[in-house]
Symmetry: C2
Subunit: 391 residues, 2 copies
Amino acid sequence: MASTGPFVPGTSVRVAGAPSGPLAGLTFAAKDLFDVAGHPTGGGNPDWAKQHPVPAKHAWAVQRLLDAGATLIGKTITDEVSLGILGENPFEGTALNPKAPDRVPGGSSSGSASAVAQGLCDTALGTDTGGSVRVPASFCGLYGIRPTHGRLDLTGMLPQAPSADTTGWFARDAATFARVSAVMLGESLAAGLPLRLVIAVDAFGFADPETAAALQPMVKKLSTLVRDVREDLLAPPGLSVWGKAQTTLQRHEAWLTFRDWIERDNPRMQFSVARNLALSTTVSESERQWAALMRMEARARLAWLLPPGTALCMPTTPCPAPKKGLPLPTLDPLRSRILCLAAHGGLTGVPQITIPGAEVDGVPVGLSILGGRGSDAALIAVANALAGCAP
Amino acid sequence: MASTGPFVPGTSVRVAGAPSGPLAGLTFAAKDLFDVAGHPTGGGNPDWAKQHPVPAKHAWAVQRLLDAGATLIGKTITDEVSLGILGENPFEGTALNPKAPDRVPGGSSSGSASAVAQGLCDTALGTDTGGSVRVPASFCGLYGIRPTHGRLDLTGMLPQAPSADTTGWFARDAATFARVSAVMLGESLAAGLPLRLVIAVDAFGFADPETAAALQPMVKKLSTLVRDVREDLLAPPGLSVWGKAQTTLQRHEAWLTFRDWIERDNPRMQFSVARNLALSTTVSESERQWAALMRMEARARLAWLLPPGTALCMPTTPCPAPKKGLPLPTLDPLRSRILCLAAHGGLTGVPQITIPGAEVDGVPVGLSILGGRGSDAALIAVANALAGCAP
């Protein structure tokens, strides 16, 4: 399938920002999960908007950027109701990955990443439940953030799995990323940098060797910014075990979120989206209970690993963007592997940024930096410092 | 959702029949699972036709009717790749049930039944794997047949579960039904009628009391045509047990049929269609083996119950057509119940006709007559006799 524009087909949305403010002059796009007053929230599925009222108010995140002076220029394609990690939406098309036109943009915030990567706007809102900002940022060579879970107001954002849902955003450069982040977080950026860096050796081992090797120069550069550097495991039980726990919890919550709609409307969906929801209903209560216990352990692990002043780095994705149109037997294991490397986000709620980390055969892949809960601004400062910007 | 025309939206198909022949002057429509040379076979799914070549030859059944002088006037809506029993296709619409405009037409041969019931053509081709001709015939007040499995050439008909797939057809009146059946079966109608009639008391007990009661006058009329009438069980293990066996086997075969397409294209589907295919992959081999054994027992039961000269009667569906747009938690058990009463067809392959049997609150419901394998023409003769037509 040929790539398409990043905006939802048939929509035209423009809302001018406040005349002055810290983001005056910037433009942004919003994933079609965010309410924009007077426009249907499409959710990436042709049957979603029809069954839901047109919002009368902007989502909190949209209003926040407008109030700061940024102008909304469009609503962007998303995987259906945020259930997808690759960005191949069969109803609205696959948004172009300008860094690799024959590859997927990543999802589910595919159109937002695509719009920023193409230079059509300065920043864009996405959502990240299981990796939906981090993965497209990595695949499109962008800065992206999944903030601390629970920190931002999610009013007017279509939910998926509330215990893991977050609002994130993208930028092409560190300066814009910092400027937007200060507004969204409502916090001026930290002046100091972390003192300690943990290199997650299990996560680097989980990535393709070429990806892990390509990221080493950026890891070295990051290491020079801190006092202590050590190697440790992110997930001692296994990234695949954390992945299984997160997938179990997230799909069950997603089913609870979308069940009323699905049972009432029996909507059209991409086969794999419907399949994953249907199969989630076959998971036993005891498996979900185990997953909830593993989540507790993961939270304890990251609290211990990431005390104040400590950051952790890891590959955002195990590989660059895969080609478009791969068959399910190839895609499914790949998708699972990508989700394993992102599972700690939804499981533990710690903040994570991803920065353009390297290129593998000319195609981008991101390096991620994590911190303890609430350390979002400190992570932005690290991105700034790596780019040589003043805090 | 408002009802739509019975023909596939955006298509226009007309192929003149042979200038003379036993069906000269008649018109017919073909379910969009039958190949018509030069036109894509849509299969009721927007992603099916795109991935399959436009056929160069007519399906055997289409050619058969054309050769006999009937003219093809259109291709009709079907549930997606014949996976559905109600006829609510979210991509192409729900074909009108003219006898009950607020109710479903039944499926999967929904458009064919609708076109005949509306008087837009004299007959129409459908397919019946688990009830896809019998159910819409019952719901739309038509004559319909599921012939002996394996009797007709299925070349050019999109398969679903080959061990149960059949080609069937509809008509509004017994005379046309007989005329078309003689051509399709390649056999002149039997002069004699069955000697014995079995009234399937379990099947009547499985129907709504109002439906069972409404069908009694037609059962009485049928009883007067035969020498001996007795009551017996169709399915001693339970119609629900036969239903479970048939569903298990049919869905597994359907998955094998459509798996390559689904895995390659990850197509758009109605949630419930994708769900049922996905859940079929979780059925264990031992459950499928049990279902195969139950099929053997069901075949033996019908061979014993239906020796030459014996017919069996039962309600075609447990109730008239349900309302359109019911939510899945209401539809799913109803769908299962409808399928239980049709399961013997796919399980055993015996022929079955359904005739306009009665009305319940002004809405039609069919009476079915079954015979032993190969007795198709004898069943048509019964329909003729009931309608007072000469054989």
